[in-house]
């Protein structure tokens, strides 16, 4: 069942408290200085990419129907929302279990004000993009509020598409997910350009997992190859809850990703995964924090970059084990597959441990394609270029093997294969 909301049904007035919040955020944005070379959080980055002068407010999209029809994800969903240039174009929430809320932000701010205020951008942005998070807060209109009540399991994925269209258009996608105690849900966010124009995307997502909850979150980012994008994520995991977040950065010219995972309760787990096929002159700049605030929690980060042409990756990650967070299990690994002499990978793993009896490992590796693997493929008749792509594909597919859901693993596997220009079965 599908319902396309017309303008009347989505029209809401911004509540006063939100208007105030947004006005304060705009001041915060204006008063916060832009990053400089001296900022450790911007080391190795390309500050010239951060010039926002050219970007303009996005106009309504030209063809809603075309974007809605192009919003194709998994076969069956529990709910599906489509946004184009910050406006809701389509919402289908008919298959949701009772009590689950999937609503555009403005509707949620009106109908679920209390819970919205408690969670909406409640975390300080500590990884360098405070200024841009403030801009997001000031400008956000389009976005999704997802609330899963305690003990509810949403079997099918919830999908949200965020489109940008038009030269220098700006979008501010937001995803706020609150998973109640022992609930379970899978959410897929798609970030896509509808044309080949340069755009500005400044997105934030807040993921909150209450006790024993389970969340699988996937972001498939495919902005145009000249776009500037911020994706600022925070994940707060309560006792015995498990979060698994995966970002696939298929597009964007300069993509700044910031991911904070806070392990807030004993026995909580957070998996942070990222797949980055880089080519052309694209830059992906990722900063992460695994913040262990409770004992007996586990975090596991694996970021994979394949760097072709003159592309560049920057990774700076910190595992922070706070006082009293004993029996912490924390892993952090970045692997760079260097495909071209002109590409560059910068990796800065880090540890800060203030507790005893912890197990932390971190590391970054960079390597080229193994010539013997390539020869083996060629000896079977596979052309060198195809062999290279198969090996890069294999590099990424082995990360997907970590995903628990076989259909999701296969679906995302096909997406990666497609992105690499290989035939999909």
């Amino acid at each position: 069942m599908s319902t396309t909301l017309d303008d009347n049904t989505i029209e809401t007035t911004t509540p006063a408290w939100l208007a105030e919040l947004q006005a304060a955020a705009l001041k915060d944005y204006e008063n916060t200085p832009a990053p400089t070379r001296r900022d450790e959080a911007w080391r190795y980055s390309d500050l010239s990419a951060l010039n926002l002068d050219a970007f303009v407010e996005a106009k309504p999209v030209e063809s809603e129907g075309r974007l809605i029809n192009s919003s194709r994800g998994v076969e069956q969903t529990a709910a599906k929302l489509v946004f184009g240039n910050n406006a809701l174009l389509h919402a289908d929430t008919a298959s949701l279990p009772a009590g689950v809320v999937v609503a555009p932000l403005d509707v949620a701010a009106r109908d679920h004000a209390e819970i919205f205020r408690r969670y909406f951008m409640a975390q300080p942005v500590e990884l360098g993009s405070h200024k841009y998070a403030a801009l997001h807060k000031a400008r956000v209109t389009g976005g999704t509020f997802i609330y899963v009540p305690a003990n509810v399991e949403v079997a099918l994925p919830i999908e949200v598409f965020h489109w940008v269209e038009g030269e220098n258009a700006s979008v501010f996608p937001h995803t706020l997910i609150i998973c109640g105690e022992n609930s379970k849900v899978t959410v897929l966010d798609y970030f896509q350009s509808s044309d080949n124009q340069r755009a500005f995307a400044c997105g934030v997502n807040d993921l909150h997992l209450e006790r024993g909850a389970k969340l699988n979150y996937v972001a498939v980012q495919n902005w145009s190859p000249t776009s500037l994008a911020f994706h600022i994520n925070s994940t707060i995991v309560a006792r015995d809850a498990t979060s698994s977040a995966l970002s696939l950065n298929f597009g964007g010219g300069f993509v700044r990703g910031e991911s904070l995972s806070r392990l807030d309760g004993e026995g909580s787990r957070s998996e942070m995964l990222s797949i980055n096929p880089l080519d052309g002159t694209r830059i992906v700049d990722q900063r992460t924090l695994q913040d262990h605030a409770a004992p007996g929690a586990a975090s596991d980060l694996l970021y994979l970059n394949a760097l072709d042409n003159a592309s560049r990756s920057i990774f700076a990650g910190l595992i922070k084990v706070e006082e009293g967070a004993h029996r912490t299990d924390a892993y952090q690994k970045v692997r760079n597959l260097i495909l071209s002499n002109e590409s560059e990978a910068n990796s800065m793993p880090g540890l800060e441990i203030l507790a005893d009896d912890v197990r932390c490992t971190h590391g970054a590796t960079s390597g080229e394609i193994n010539e013997d693997e390539l020869f083996y493929m060629q000896a079977r008749g596979i052309r060198k270029e195809d062999g290279r792509r198969l090996i890069v594909n294999g590099f990424f597919q082995s990360l997907l093997e970590r995903l628990e859901s076989a259909p999701l693993r296969e679906y995302l596997g096909r997406k990666v294969t497609e992105r690499l220009g290989l035939p999909v079965q």
Binding site: N370, E371, D372, E373, F375, Y376, M377, Q378, A379, R380, G381, I382, R383, K384, D386, G387, L390, I391, N393, G394, F395, F396, Q397, S398, E401, P423, Q425
Partner: protein
Amino acid sequence: MSLEIKDLHANIGDREILKGLNLTIPKGEVHAIMGKNGSGKSTLAKVMAGHPSYEVTGGDVLLDGSSLFGLEPDQRARAGLFLAFQYPMEIPGVTIANFIRAALQARLPEGEELEAVEYYKNLYAQMDALKMPRTFTSRSVNDGFSGGEKKRCEVLQLAMLKPAYAVLDETDSGLDIDALKIVAEGVNTLRSPDTGFLVITHYQRLLNYIVPDVVHVMVDGRIVRSGGKDLALKLEAEGYDWIEKELLATA
């Protein structure tokens, strides 16, 4: 129709490994090369397949009359040469099904798609014959495989790609007798008037199961003796010393 190796010389770095090797394998025959470690057997296999670490300094390899030199390794494979590796590579994240499929796809004309249903039918039939569980198709190529599984996977590829000439480099190494029998049976069912085999081995044992038409002995980068399968038995019983002595005497 034959695979013809003519006065082949090849180096690795400054060291000459192949020193004027001559050998002709007519289609439909199985030839075996035996030799001690370091005689250059594996080098011969890799040079024919086009491994970039080796430099050919003289001679030629002709596949049905056309030179393989000047062709990329993948072009040689598509021309009909297959090398079963002594140490097959592990390729994480690339499934066997996708790997073999890519190899078959590479043999089709531009724009033509491999027929998927037919492909899987054929793949499963070959796997059944090699007693490989079908779950193998979704495992990564050789990743975490035992020695026997790796060699079976090589024979599976051989069966699927159906080359004109197959070079089996120490296919018996690392196999227990049961695995050896399965692999040998796999090769034997592929023997046909359309295929030539070159079986490279250190031990005579394999030749009990893959019975060769001709046995060649390789010493120091050359073929020094050729004969029937009895030659292999003599080598097994008496070692290589007698050949080396005879060579010294005639030198």
